[in-house]
Every structure is written in structure tokens, then in C-alpha cells.
């Protein structure tokens, strides 16, 4: 069943990747198998509408509302569905909470699994061989490359997304954010803090 191709079909297409895409799009459009307007719609969705601002709103609400946070951590799917954050690559969500004793970090060593409805399309580094290969074996050295150093008494739990479950890290609420509104809090939530390769932004840094 799994044929190993000596004459792989991709080798039949033009070598330049941009031309390869164009050739495939033209062929599939001529056959009536794809609609270029649908492609535009997919791209617009992930370029402009679905991105890390969704996840940031969830984190900010969890910081702001203990009941919401408890429900989110207990069973994320219905909570996120209520907010309209569901669908492709976010069908089965689990939210994991950072604490002073445990830092969570997410990787997909086998491909590039990532919670699209909450964070959008993964950044290039998340899909890179270096991140996929190293995040499980030396997460602290990888974190250092993101400028993050954890206290020695904080353990790291790396989640390798090997199934259709997608993980979102709930970062620790930064000091000095007491009394801030949900909207102000959301501005402290970076994309990387929800993957676990970053921390939430300190209010004084966000304000500067």
C-alpha cells in the first residue's frame, strides 16, 4: 500500500515551487476540481480572521474569570465552542496551565499539528526540523533561543501532539496586571506564550 516512488508525481511538475503551485492550481481549476474563489476565501480566513488574537481572548478571560478558567481546564471544547472557536485543527482541545512549578510547551515532532481556531496557521519555526527535533529532548535550550529562562525549580512538560488533540498553554498571569480589563489583559498574551515558547508580556513592557 505505501508505495515508495522512484518516479514521484511531484517530479512531473515544474521544479520552481511557485510555478509548481500555479501549474497545479491551473490544472485543477480547468478540471473543475477547485474554485479559485474558494482558495481566496480560505486564505483570507487564515490571513485576516483566524489567528492568535482568538487564543489571547481566551487566556485573558481565564485570567479574569475563575469560573471560566475552571471550566476551560476541565473540558475546553464546549467552552471554546460557546465563543465560536472551533473547527478544523481544533476539534479536540485541551488547555494546560503553567504554574510556578510546571511550565508547559507544545510541539508536533511528527508533522506540524497546531490549534488553528485559536492560534491560526503555525509560524515557520514551529514547523522547522530544529524545533520538531529538539523541543522534546532539550526544551530548556530551545527556550533559551526564545530568550526564556525558567527558574531551576520549575519543571518542563513538553506535549508532543501525536493525535488529533490540540493543546493550548495557559500562561501565568504577569505580575502588575491586577485590576486590568479583559481587553487590556489580552494585549499581554503573545502567540508564543500560548505555545509555551514565551511568557506573557509584563504590563510595563506592553505599555512601552
Amino acid at each position: 500500500m505505501p508505495h515508495d516512488h522512484a518516479d514521484a508525481p511531484h517530479s512531473l511538475l515544474p521544479p520552481d515551487p511557485a510555478l509548481r503551485v500555479k501549474a497545479l492550481e491551473t490544472l485543477l481549476t480547468q478540471k473543475g476540481l477547485i474554485d479559485p474563489a474558494a482558495l481566496d476565501e480560505i486564505i483570507d480566513t487564515y490571513q485576516n480572521r483566524i489567528g492568535p488574537a482568538n487564543g489571547a481572548r481566551v487566556v485573558a478571560r481565564a485570567w479574569h474569570d475563575p469560573g471560566f478558567k475552571a471550566a476551560l481546564l476541565a473540558d475546553a471544547d464546549p467552552v471554546l465552542a460557546d465563543l465560536g472557536y472551533y473547527g478544523r485543527q481544533g476539534e479536540h482541545m485541551v488547555v494546560v496551565e503553567n504554574t510556578p512549578v510546571q511550565h508547559n510547551m507544545v510541539v508536533c515532532t511528527l508533522c506540524s499539528c497546531y490549534p488553528w481556531p485559536l492560534l491560526g496557521i503555525p509560524p515557520g519555526w514551529y514547523k522547522s526540523d530544529a524545533y520538531r527535533a529538539r523541543a522534546v529532548r532539550e526544551p530548556r535550550r530551545v527556550l533559551a533561543e526564545f530568550g526564556v529562562t525558567l527558574p531551576a525549580d520549575t519543571s518542563v512538560r513538553v506535549w508532543d501532539s501525536t493525535a488529533e488533540v490540540r493543546y493550548l498553554v495557559l500562561p501565568m498571569r504577569p505580575e502588575g496586571s491586577e485590576g486590568m480589563s479583559e481587553e487590556q489583559l489580552a494585549a499581554l498574551v503573545s502567540r508564543d506564550s500560548m505555545i509555551g515558547t514565551g511568557l506573557a508580556i509584563a504590563p510595563e513592557v506592553a505599555a512601552s
Binding site: 500500500m1 505505501p2 515508495d4 514521484a8 508525481p9 511531484h10 512531473l12 511538475l13 515544474p14 515551487p17 511557485a18 509548481r20 503551485v21 500555479k22 497545479l24 492550481e25 491551473t26 485543477l28 480547468q30 478540471k31 476540481l33 477547485i34 474563489a37 474558494a38 482558495l39 476565501e41 480560505i42 486564505i43 480566513t45 472551533y86 473547527g87 478544523r88 481544533g90 476539534e91 479536540h92 515532532t109 511528527l110 508533522c111 496557521i121 509560524p123 515557520g124 519555526w125 522547522s128 526540523d129 530544529a130 527535533a133 522534546v136 529532548r137 526544551p139 526564545f146 519543571s155 518542563v156 512538560r157 506535549w159 501525536t162 493525535a163 488529533e164 488533540v165 502567540r191 508564543d192
Partner: protein, 234 residues
């Protein structure tokens, strides 16, 4: 027995180079196009997510390594389109950058054309997604806290060289159940048209010291999502 994509724990890749958080979602226009074409072709219903992952994984190691991310997607898509007989190798060979447009057979309607994803249906298709949980007859064998071991040898037990989601670095390792996810489609079966074969899926934690010869920190752990048939009781 492993394939090139199974790179967890590998040495030699050098530093991770994070691009700025405000960087464009798609670094190149063709990246966006490649993603959209792949999703749109998936909507034709000729394969599932496990089939498409496997199509990328079984690229020749030389190709997998030299291709950028979306080139892998394109190559996997070309494989699937031909294997599932959506297009022929001749179709692909005649595809150019769009400036020709000739070819008599292209005028005939394709049998799958009625299934083509329309712009008006994109939002609903993306919102629907592809849930992987299914009812299963397989009884849940483990509970949180139970010690387990990943079976050895790893690899797909239904198809030699087939798709599996047990990374090589965890084969034979001892861990413990941290979460029961319910019953999910088994990729080892579904990727090869052998049925969804749903079974219990667990989050399983492993001490870093049980996976790596030189763990960074005694308290660190790695958690993997693993199907029941990947595990044995300890």
C-alpha cells in the same frame, strides 16, 4: 524502520530561529496558495487526514529534507491526486504555469467536479473540521496514574512501513497515563483504507530521564497522545 519525518530527539539540526511574532502568516504568496489548494482538494473527499500525513511522510528522505514546508504539502498532494486517480500522471506532466490551457480532455467534466468546494461553503467546511472521536467497542484499559510501556518494536503493525503516530523516541519507554481522551480513529488503520478502527486514546507522560541519555533536568517530562494498541500494561 522509521521514516524521515520521525525526528523527535534527533541531533544536528542547529538552533531554532524564531521569526518576529508580527511576521506575515504566509511568507510567500505561493505558500498561501499551496495551503488553500491542499484544503480544497481534501474537500473532494478522496482521502482522510491520516492518508494525507502519510503521503508527506513517505516522500523520499532526500526530498523530505530538501523541501521547504509547503513543498512537502505539494508533493504529498501530487502523490494523492495520482494514487486516488483524481488526476493522471499525464495530467500532471502536461500542467504548466497556466499559460497554455490546451488539452482536449480538460474540457470534459471531471466526475468529482460536483464536489468542488465553493467559496460560499468554505466557512462551513472549516468550521465543521474533522472530529476524530468515534464510538468504539474496545474497552478502556487504563486510568490516570496507571503505569504503561510503549510496545517494542514500534511501527505500523498492519502495513509494513505504514503510517503510525508512535514516535521512535518513545518506543519501549515506560510512562504513566495522565489523561483519557476517549476513543479516536486509529491512524495506523485509517491511513491505509483499512477502516477507522477507533480505540481508546491517552495522554501518556514520560520522565525525560526515561527517554534521553542526558536529560536537561530531573523533573522534566514529555507527554504524548498514544492509542491503546501502542501500549502495554506494566
Amino acid at each position: 524502520m522509521s521514516r524521515v519525518h520521525d525526528m523527535g530527539g534527533r541531533f544536528g539540526d542547529g538552533p531554532v530561529t524564531p521569526e518576529p511574532q508580527g511576521a506575515p502568516v504566509f511568507a510567500e504568496d505561493w505558500h498561501a496558495r499551496a495551503l488553500a489548494i491542499t484544503l480544497a482538494c481534501g474537500a473532494l473527499g478522496q482521502w482522510n487526514i491520516d492518508t494525507s500525513r502519510h503521503a508527506r511522510e513517505r516522500l523520499a528522505p532526500l526530498d523530505y529534507t530538501r523541501f521547504s514546508y509547503y513543498e512537502k504539502w505539494l508533493a504529498g498532494l501530487a502523490t494523492l491526486l495520482v494514487e486516488k486517480q483524481v488526476l493522471s500522471a499525464k495530467d500532471l506532466a502536461s500542467a504548466t504555469d497556466g499559460r497554455d490551457g490546451t488539452g482536449a480532455d480538460r474540457a470534459a467534466p471531471h466526475p468529482l467536479a460536483a464536489r468542488a468546494l465553493k467559496a460560499a461553503d468554505v466557512a462551513a467546511a472549516l468550521a465543521k473540521g474533522g472530529p476524530a472521536d468515534r464510538p468504539s467497542d474496545v474497552a478502556v484499559a487504563f486510568a490516570p496514574g496507571d503505569p504503561v510501556r510503549c510496545r517494542r518494536p514500534g511501527g505500523n503493525r498492519l502495513v509494513a512501513g505504514g503510517h503510525t503516530r508512535l514516535p521512535t523516541y518513545a518506543v519501549g519507554a515506560r510512562g504513566w497515563i495522565v489523561r483519557v481522551h476517549g476513543t479516536h480513529v486509529l491512524p495506523d488503520s485509517a491511513a491505509h483504507g483499512l477502516g477507522e478502527a477507533p480505540e481508546p486514546l491517552y495522554a501518556v507522560a514520560f520522565a525525560a530521564s526515561d527517554l534521553w541519555s542526558a536529560p536537561e533536568h530531573p523533573g522534566d517530562e514529555v507527554v504524548l497522545d498514544l492509542w491503546q494498541s501502542y501500549l502495554e500494561a506494566v
